[in-house]
């Protein structure tokens, strides 16, 4: 039995999920909704699905699940509406930029007993999954230190920055989730540092473009996160986990693995420089996991609670900078 999907939002990330649904033998894309008719039309044509309004999808009897890819400020409302409508809900991160609003939204979801999965796609990257598997298999012993290096190829437009909630809620939030995924314990302290090194306009917009965060857990495990909105050599996405018995690391990804040698040295190409190409497989795996949860009647993961936990860490990072101190969460 195929899971029947409605897609809310036909923008860049909507297209990614449409492709993942279209390529999944256990799913059917039934309808797409977008205020921009041309965008919805593109997807409708490519995947042979209907164009509907959000209201039509909400009340449709031929839709089991929705994927929410609309602007961030609509996420919480849509989650609530579709949870109440009895649809399984997948929502792109973040649920909301405000912790209280997220809590209220989760309350509604919980009351409906519905499924909410939050789009932390990196948990489904095969390389990072292999890191987690190595930990689970005891290959590194007890986790002691997680190092996450995450650098974007370039900064987004300042207009985007202004609406994004800032680097910690927009960019680092993925790393906070990854830290929780790998540390094996909840972070209890957050210490952050941030600068404007890439573009003064980002600073003028009240945000940072370079950040360092240190988390610790109750038993003393550390996580270091290093972020930059700039990396000339591509999308730098590395993870390293050091433990009592060893270390496991996931390497960066390239489009092709060749090396050219000459008098200047031995050169491999730059990294994949776009999140959609870097995480193509992760996005497909993510939707597949959501579908599998729906079919099995189990709760999806990462859940709304995971989205909340990452947001709380982001807020703590901002507070740490503002107050010049380590923030305790417990």
């Amino acid at each position: 039995m195929s899971v029947r999907f409605g897609l809310l939002g036909a923008g860049r990330i909507g297209k990614v999920h449409a492709k993942a649904i279209g390529g999944n033998p256990d799913a059917t894309l039934v309808a797409v909704a977008d205020a921009v008719a041309a965008a919805a039309g593109d997807i409708a044509k490519t995947y042979d699905c209907a164009m509907r309004t959000i209201e039509e999808i909400e009340t449709a009897s031929d839709i089991d699940a929705v994927v929410i890819c609309t602007p961030t400020d609509t996420h919480a409302d849509l989650i609530e509406r579709f949870a109440r409508a009895g649809k399984a809900v997948f929502c792109e991160k973040p649920i909301d930029l405000d912790v209280a609003r997220v809590r209220a939204c989760m309350q509604v979801v919980n009351e409906t007993g519905g499924t909410l999965m939050v789009g932390f796609n990196r948990r489904f990257d095969p390389h990072f999954m292999a890191v987690r598997s190595a930990i689970d298999a005891g290959r590194v012993g007890d986790v002691e230190m997680v190092q996450i290096t995450s650098r974007d190829p370039g900064a987004p437009p300042v207009d985007y920055i202004k609406r994004s909630g800032g680097i910690f809620r927009d960019m680092t939030i993925h790393d906070f989730d990854m830290a929780r995924y790998l540390l094996g314990e909840e972070p209890v302290t957050v210490a952050a540092t941030a600068s404007v090194l890439v573009d003064p306009a980002i600073g003028e917009a009240g945000d940072y473009d370079s950040a360092t965060v240190t988390l610790t857990t109750a038993s003393g495990r550390h996580c270091l996160i290093s972020n930059s909105r700039r990396a000339t050599y591509g999308y730098d996405q590395r993870i390293e986990v050091h433990g009592s018995k060893g270390m496991v690391a996931a390497e960066n990804q390239r489009e092709v693995d060749i090396e050219i040698a000459n008098a200047d040295g031995f050169t491999r190409p730059p990294l994949l420089d776009f999140f959609m190409t870097r995480y193509t497989v992760a996005y497909a795996n993510e939707i597949a996991a959501f579908i599998a949860n729906i079919k099995a009647g189990t709760k999806a993961s990462p859940s709304g609670a995971d989205g909340l936990a990452a947001l709380i860490l982001a807020d703590a990072a901002l507070q740490s900078i503002a107050e010049g101190r380590t923030i305790r969460l417990d």
Copy 2:
């Protein structure tokens, strides 16, 4: 306008091509034929296409092109039939194990003016394509030495070996084609050495499991091919091109790029160990190129002539071993 396909043969490699056609927005899989109804049925169901006989596909007006994935001894006959029927033909390598038969088949194709593409999938591997692009861009200067290391994870069943035409026509033939693709000149000498090191049963079947071939071109360029039917660490597929200005090399591929370090050292996982997973992208690119040729009305490449050239090199390798000397082709 979509290219409408008939698939002849629904076995392992047939499934690979069905998937490539199914995932290509410019193609439609219209029908599949296979003596084994269950195999054809699987594909028919997955891709929502018809099950037909070969004769039905031959005379169908809704089929533009066929992909031949039947046993080797049927290839040349089917190529001729479908070329005469006006279909564009893609055929898995080899066209035939006999050079005279291949020549006769190509004669028929030429008379019909039709398109014949031969399945040397490795030309469409992104990593090897990048090697070729680096050469074309002058990054290594004049090509001097091509080194191809190609080792299978394990030997095929002896039954298969007996029908395969032997290691040079079955396995090395890919490397002969790659040599021609990269050398920039036709090989004019062939010197081969072969042994039975992996499995005595292969020797008893009259074949070898370990082989070394050296090719040279008219201007003195070298190509070294190293083959084994055994590699404990996966499917070893490496290419290195050395030239007057530098070197370019394509590295092996893994499912995940992680490294685990402990007291035993730093360990990365074994290689992808199956040709279908190693060359997934290559197979999709190959069919896409075939489709693009059909749509543009241009001749496909690699062509029947490329299939013939590789077979002639394979025969020369066997002759070199039999006579203990270097064979000149010019």
Copy 3:
């Protein structure tokens, strides 16, 4: 003209320097002093030099320079004595564990106008020097983020820990110096986190075995330092510098660069696991630089001021942990 050396302390690190002096064509080891006669005798025999008391070396007319390798609590006194005696002084780090004592010692050295070089050997490692050269050559643009990963193969005896001044003054101090060497600006903030994960006895001794430090400079550059007293795979010594134009990284070192591949994967050997083998070349370069400075009549670097600056960072790290806040140095 050969620089004539007296060696104070014939222990483990004394032997390292004796070898560096013995192998340097511009230097002669004239005498060695050690309370343990057997240790001094070993060096005297190997390098054909005299055994003398510290007093005899202090007043010797045939000694131009001394290398101080005695216990830490004797360093400052010996530096003062030998600076007053007109000898060029090389002293192993640290000058002292107390900032006030270091300042007083430097005052004496400054009054004598003598040369004092502090043993931050890592500045002379060829790989790290190449990182610095790449920065100086503009290869990474403006430095934005320095990441230093420094993990010992195993913890020292708790007795040593107790006398060491703690992880920040004993181990991280090298990383503080490296940060200053690479950042291109002085650190102005220090935020540190530390745990006991390796050995409870270290905690009982009042120290930590796992630490993370974040430094920032006035213009907002970051440095992350990650330390552990444990690494099962050898002596982990990595540096990475990220800047506006790119990144440069120095890799770990092995005794032999081989890789073994089998069904378990591709394995390279563990790292060099001893600071003396990892930094053999660095130690020789360090003494060579000291000698070159003496011959040229120039001031040695890293100087006493560098030793002091690193110690101040170590103290700030401890204060950061104690007070749960970021410490400002300016």
Copy 4:
């Protein structure tokens, strides 16, 4: 008891051995002889040894062993003279370019019962020794295929080429020895191919600059050797051994292990580009092994017989090219 050395020949390689002897605690360089007084004088001054004639060294009672670094055409005579004089003899490769002359020389050495070690320095490279150790430890199972890639950074002067005996006796001879060192069986067939791709003047001198050789042993093991007199990226010295249980490979060597990443990609420096820097440790190990043999009263290895075996393979390679066939040695 220190082994007392006489050095015959104070040229480039003579200096390498002088340094190895000078740095070895079990050896003393007593005297050096060279027709060019200035060259001998340099060594005499640096290592504080006497300048003597060859005759004086031959009859000296204070000399236990000699290292022959004179021009190739003097090697066999000097070996015979010094073997008869009762000195242990280390001779740079080759003993002679003529097999008959080598046999005669070995006959003399055998009659004297003396020790003759031939300078195949690569057997003492730590990385290649680790490859051999991995084989000996059973890590790759039964050896099946040895691949040796050996490329010089640039061609020697044509004058040198003319006196060198040609690429197989001058350059490939090291690879022939390495093949024998690693194959575990004697080669019984030799098939060679060679071209002039680098410099026509080398062809005019009757030699080649690019060569490929395939060796096989009685049980069917293969060895592929790839040679070029040109490599823009440094001195390319790689070895790979494939066996029934796995593969082991030795990687190329650099002066520093850094990597710079920017929009052009990830670049590591070119390789060490001079045999003396690439094999510094190997030369020291080689002399140390010779000294250890002398002190233990055991035969040195590689011996004159090893030198002869490699020369026979070189001659067979030339014959293979001349006759266009595989040469059998058994």
